[in-house]
Symmetry: C2
Subunit: 213 residues, 2 copies
């Protein structure tokens, strides 16, 4: 019987690569997607297609942030075309902490042994919840705060460049055409937001064509 | 200008006492309530009245657990009349981890300096997310995972007995008549579930009459 794992799946390249990595390692993955009022909710379609292509179940949790403060949640704010210095306005305070907390709850409930999160300290080094010291701290929470004390928190992409992730995704035959990265969530990628720019740069450096372009 | 804080308010005695304690300490409290599909959702009325009585704003976050596994979430399971040994079926995996994660997000968004949670290691010692070692671990998450690194996680009731909490609530003139404890969430408290029994025992030991009885 394969060991279960929870994969935090947003529909982007990083989380989809995590899913295919978990499968390759022999896990039976359960994907977890959050509808948190993000303006690019269209990523849910990507997440559904990607989970289905990996033969994995997708669990959707709808969560409310009654406070705003991020341009990803608040449609009256502009998504910046290029992030200025420091932490960009697309930062959602505590987002990965919240996602991981739900993943822990889910993992304990379904008896999964590991959680995969595609956090990456390079591209989003401005986001504190993408850095290694946070993950070290969260592992301590995972080993004290729930009944099951041996759930692994896996961050296989934490130190990889986008190009390295894209090469890994290609090796794993991850379906890039199903992914969605753009923060704006319109019909086509805007090619201007941080997320689009990191994607384009990654494909270019990896020497691979982006099927969305 | 008073310092803001976030109080996790469930509508029960412990969290309400925390709210009045935070007020007494000079904080401007923002209360956070979760609608997580609990069978005793009627506690939201208590939370609303208690927050109003303290002159505090109540923020309600609706969150979905697409998995079950707790008798508090799954109405096909019975709430036990008396908990058996070990962790009871009313345990919701990771509940306080999730609540604290949202509180961190909220605290950062509204620029609050502290979070109050009425966790208590005595009555609910079977719940891992009510114990001190978990809170020590979560403090490390709070100081690494968000931009604002100095948000205090306050657990003023962690080592108190229910009787001590009730005496403290009485000193602070906390409106006990507005609180709700029963897990079953019917018209009147069932007086049989763990939560009702701890409440009754606490009032008895404190030598104070419970206005709900």
């Amino acid at each position: 019987m394969p060991k279960k794992c929870v994969v935090l799946l947003s529909g982007g390249i990083d989380s989809a690569t995590c899913l295919f990595l978990a499968k390759k390692e022999g896990f039976l993955p359960y994907c977890l997607f959050f509808d948190y009022g993000q303006r690019h909710l269209k990523e849910i379609k990507s997440a559904r297609r990607i989970a289905a292509s990996a033969g994995a179940e997708l669990l959707v949790s709808k969560i409310g942030f009654p406070w705003k403060g991020s341009s990803l949640l608040d449609k009256s704010l502009e998504v910046p075309a290029r992030s200025s210095k420091g932490i960009p306005s697309t930062y959602v305070p505590g987002r990965n902490i919240i996602f991981l907390s739900f993943a822990l709850s889910c993992a304990e409930s379904i008896k999964a042994g590991a959680i995969f999160i595609g956090a990456n300290a390079r591209d989003f080094s401005g986001y504190p919840d993408c850095r290694s010291d946070f993950y070290r701290a969260f592992r301590k929470v995972a080993s004290t705060g729930i009944k099951k004390r041996d759930i692994e928190i896996r961050t296989p992409l934490i130190n990889k460049t986008k190009a390295q992730i894209i090469r890994l995704g290609a090796e794993l035959k991850m379906p890039f055409e199903m992914t969605w990265s753009c923060y704006r969530g319109k019909v086509k990628p805007c090619n201007r937001c941080d997320s689009c720019r990191f994607r384009a740069k990654g494909f270019k450096e990896a020497g691979i064509d982006d099927p969305l372009v």
